[in-house]
């Protein structure tokens, strides 16, 4: 066991952790940050994605001790004033969540992408989210949501769905 100090969503957290404790378990079990999910526990699905320092990481592949002295951001941290961010609003209006289990990871990843690159191309979006999976298949809706925010060009989600 050793003591680490991590700033999680702007709050300093000091905890004793096991040497082999995953950042995923540290966040979920010790700090009860429940937006961080897991579906594969080996870096394939991306549901445990968090921001560590300046980078998105899969928290099942990072030890808690590696986060010592660093900042961690999860989806709880991107809405400091309580108001939904533009990408969150766009996810809602475009129906970019079905079961929702992977949604926090997608919101965080696309939010960070749009912070770093306000106008990502389709290839950049695909590349930036290549580590994430959505079994319900909301990829089209996520694409539309990102497009709306990036181009500030409102587009109805049902646009394609003309009644015949």
């Amino acid at each position: 066991m050793r003591e680490i100090t991590v700033r999680v969503n702007g709050q300093e957290r000091k905890r004793l952790v096991k040497d082999n404790e995953l950042l995923l378990d540290f966040l979920r079990e010790r700090l009860e940050v429940r937006s961080v999910k897991a579906a594969c526990w080996r870096g394939e699905c991306g549901l445990c994605t968090v921001k560590l320092g300046d980078h998105l990481v899969k928290s099942c592949l990072v030890l808690a001790v590696e986060a010592d002295g660093k900042e961690v951001e999860t989806v709880e941290g991107i809405t400091p004033d309580g108001e939904l961010t533009p990408i969150q609003k766009a996810f809602v209006s475009h129906g970019a969540a079905q079961c929702g289990f992977c949604t926090p990871a997608w919101v965080l990843a696309t939010h960070e992408l749009l912070q770093a690159n306000p106008h990502p191309s389709e290839a950049e979006l695909t590349e930036a989210t290549s580590g994430l999976v959505c079994r319900c298949g909301t990829y089209n809706q996520i694409r539309e949501a990102v497009e709306e925010v990036s181009q500030a060009r409102p587009r109805l989600a049902k646009e394609n769905l003309a009644s015949s």
Binding site: E44, L84, Q88, S164
Partner: protein
């Protein structure tokens, strides 16, 4: 608010805000104070007698509370076939079969102890191939099959490995073959696939000393979970409460019983402490249930003018060690054999067969997806043999509403949908008569194909639904439903219908996300695309009931006959005299006169739905009425096939369904897109691989690949046809599962039409496709390799 203010509008699902903020809680997130953690110990051999289980060293691990085995809970459970144990009793039936459960203070202690459980086995011969498992001398998996409690519509064959034998006959198939000018005779295979819901199977259970049980589970069917536990463990229904919070995907794989009974028994065994069991992804693959494998042999006869006059098919389902839900999959596969076509002579046998592999269960579109894979390709083969256009051969055979009968002899009503319009819309969507685009490279082929489909919910005739509508003090509505919500948005669509019934804003109607057998309205299961239809009808009836109560009260207060009053725009109004009105708010909690005198009270509407049309199917001929509706649809694709690598890329997807009435076009589009993507993923990538001992070799998302954003076609057309169903809610039909069914067949048909290469095996992975091209059309491959080589050489020369 006008009468149709919300129905037909793209209202986003109301629970998405919780999902995007990470505040939607799933069973996986659920903790009860004092929770113990459970860990499975699984069999290392595929088929063996358990001689001895040594638990001493496992129990000695600090933190371990108990180690349980099948002897501690010798129950047989199941929904349709009743063939499962909670932990292996006497013998193990597949490599991965749970033999013991460690319960510990921490998961770490549980994991360490699980490795110390020592099981001595006496191995038995095992069988992994379902066709071999039907041979007379095959090792038997279930020696006491005759003792199992089967639902009445299933026909197991004790003394064999056949868990269900479904038969369907109409007309005389041999006579039909006699009339045929062309025959198609082929074998098709489908590999096991995983539902791959991202929240793995998991449960928290607490037994109490008063004999009650509280269970939180990631499940599609809380009421059926309760039913199975109650019936199998002999506990009264009302002593079991099943709670289902948000569910991280189901796709049929969470429809029956999962680990709920095991966790409940474990909680009791450890002295009534809560027990949590979360499967790892690997455990979910190797100890949970998957979609079955299939071997299908078909012979079909067509006349010169394209009429299918005879269709004979045998499906053999590789059901794995337990076929609890799969017996119904075999039944659905059998009665859907004829799809959207009317064939005068049909003979079908569909067998669910036990093998020493992972158990299998329902999956999105079950039975129908598999029969579609065979049928739609048979039609494509016939079209080619007859030199007929793919669309024309279908028009010749399509069911005619008002005239035709389905494979089970059910008359196709005029209001059930318009298959011809669906076909036409599919063809328009893909520009069928237009020019196919040029491939991006000379060794690639660009091609278009399509397939049609039909499906209804595969449920017992007595499956029912109910709804409770409660008005609150401020006239907002708590709508109490049982139908689950794991992405389909059924609650949102039904809320829109309720809002319009009372002329209020949709925000005034809310459905709590948690389902709870003690508090929710009963619904049989959330499966089979039934929720919107069955629970929708129940809800509309609850609205009528509530309106009746409101109008009775208003009639008294307004001193007008009920017949002269109506509910509109959030008020009761006198017909033709809208200035005479009372807002709902003043009625739904009792009307208060100026002197305080109050009449009436809280309004609660109730409604239920059970189809009175469904029947059991005849055991010999499979004739009867199995489903409450049929949704017709189709998929078309524009693909690019790389002849050199065998890789298929979908460039454009078209999805068309006759939904009766589009209650919410946004939710509909989400299902049509999502279903296509899942269908495409299964068509091209997904296959559970087994080694020679039946072990799952790829229990992870590296070697079991799921479609990602890069795989999704850029061009996506989703259209709907609206032929209203007279007994559907506002004319609507179900759609959730449908969107996946015809995807694989459409892709395969595109390849066959353009190259003549038959892809009979799912998935159409590059290896499979390449092998098919090189064995069936070596000249095509040689030509492609040549042009590829030429380009390679040119590139190298330039460098």
């Amino acid at each position: 608010m006008t009468a149709d203010a919300f129905v037909g509008k793209a209202v986003p699902p109301e629970d998405t805000v919780r999902k995007v903020t990470g505040t939607a809680l799933y069973t996986y997130d659920w903790e009860v104070p004092g929770t113990l953690y459970a860990k499975l110990v699984t069999s290392t051999v595929p088929h063996a007698k358990i001689v001895r289980i040594s638990l001493e060293s496992a129990k000695a691990v600090p933190g371990v509370v108990a180690v349980l085995t099948g002897k501690d809970m010798p129950f047989r459970v199941g929904m349709y076939a009743g063939d499962r144990d909670l932990l292996a009793v006497e013998k193990v039936r597949w490599a991965g079969h749970p033999v013991a459960l460690v319960v510990a203070e921490t998961l770490e202690a549980g994991e360490r102890a699980s490795e110390l459980v020592d099981v001595e086995y006496e191995t038995l011969p095992a069988v992994f191939d379902p066709v071999k498992a039907m041979e007379a001398d095959a090792p038997l998996l279930h020696e006491r099959m005759e003792e199992y409690k089967h639902a009445p519509v299933f026909y197991p064959v004790p003394g064999t490995n056949i868990a269900n034998r479904f038969r369907l006959v109409h007309g005389d198939v041999e006579k039909g073959f006699g009339q045929a000018d062309e025959l198609v005779e082929e074998e098709f295979r489908i590999s096991h696939v995983s539902h791959a819901y991202l929240e793995t199977q998991n449960v928290v259970a607490q037994a109490y000393r008063d004999g009650t049980y509280e269970i939180w589970t990631s499940a599609q069917s809380p009421f059926v979970v309760r039913q199975i536990i109650s019936e199998s463990l002999n506990i009264p229904y009302n002593k079991i409460t099943i709670r289902v919070p948000f569910v991280g995907g189901g796709f049929g794989g969470k429809a029956g019983l999962q680990w709920e009974a095991l966790a409940a028994m474990a909680s009791k065994a450890v002295g009534y402490r809560p027990v949590k069991l979360v499967l790892s992804r690997k455990e979910n693959f190797s100890s949970g249930a998957s979609r079955e494998g299939v071997v299908a042999n078909v012979k079909a006869g067509f006349t010169k003018d394209g009429k299918c006059v005879a269709y004979k098919v045998r499906f053999v389902l590789d059901a794995g060690a337990y076929a609890d839900y799969t017996v119904n999959v075999s039944r659905a596969m059998g009665y859907s054999a004829e799809g959207v076509y009317e064939v005068p002579n049909v003979q079908c046998e569909s067998l669910a067969v036990y093998t020493n592999k992972v158990p299998t269960t329902a999956m999105r579109g079950f039975g129908y997806s598999e029969s579609n894979w065979v049928l739609e390709q048979v039609f494509e083969r016939a079209a080619k043999k007859l030199g007929m256009d793919s669309a024309k051969i279908r028009r010749v055979n399509l069911l005619r509403p008002g005239e035709s009968h389905t494979a089970t002899g059910e008359k196709v009503r005029e209001d059930v949908g318009d298959p011809r319009k669906v076909l036409q819309t599919v063809l328009e969507g893909i520009d069928w008569d237009g020019k196919v685009e040029r491939p991006s490279e000379p060794w690639k082929v660009r091609a278009r194909g399509f397939a049609l489909c039909v499906k209804g919910p595969s449920q017992p005739p007595n499956a029912s639904s109910s709804a409770i509508l409660k008005f609150n003090e401020d006239s907002t509505i708590d709508l109490v439903l049982g139908t689950g919500n794991f992405g389909q948005g059924t609650a949102t669509a039904i809320s829109q219908m309720v809002a319009d019934q009372f002329g209020v804003a949709v925000e005034k109607v809310r459905v709590d996300p948690v389902r709870d057998t003690g508090k929710s309205a009963y619904t049989w299961q959330t499966v089979g695309s039934r929720g919107l239809f069955t629970d929708g009808v129940a809800t509309l009836r609850a609205c009528e009931d509530a309106k009746g109560q409101i109008l009775d009260l208003a009639s008294q207060v307004m001193r007008l006959p009920k017949s002269e009053l109506e509910v509109a725009e959030g008020a009761v109004k006198a017909k033709g005299r809208p200035w005479l009105s009372i807002p709902l708010r003043e009625l739904v909690f009792g009307y208060v006169y100026p002197n305080g005198n109050t009449v009436g009270g809280p309004v609660i509407g109730r409604g239920q739905y059970t189809s009175s049309l469904n029947t059991y199917l005849d055991p010999q001929t499979g004739q009867g009425v199995p489903t409450i509706f049929h949704t017709f649809g189709g998929t078309a694709v524009d693909i690019e096939l790389d002849l050199v690598t065998g890789a298929i890329e979908v460039k454009k997807a078209v999805q068309v369904f006759d939904v009766g009435k589009a209650i919410n076009p946004l939710l509909l589009k989400m299902q049509l897109d999502g279903g296509f993507i899942m269908g495409m993923s299964i068509a091209l990538f997904e296959k559970i691989k087994f080694d020679e001992q039946g072990w799952v070799m790829n229990p992870n998302f590296t070697s079991y690949y799921l479609a990602r954003m890069k795989d999704v076609p850029k061009d996506f057309v989703a259209r709907y046809v609206e032929t209203p169903q007279f007994d559907g809610p506002l004319g609507a039909r179900g759609i959730g599962e449908l969107s996946m069914i015809s995807v694989a067949s459409a892709i395969s048909n595109a390849v066959f039409r353009s190259t003549g290469v038959k892809l009979n095996n799912l998935p159409m992975s590059p290896e499979e496709v390449w092998a098919a091209i090189s064995s069936q059309k070596p000249e095509l491959l040689a030509k492609a390799m040549e042009s590829y080589g030429r380009v390679e050489t040119a590139v190298k020369a330039r460098q």
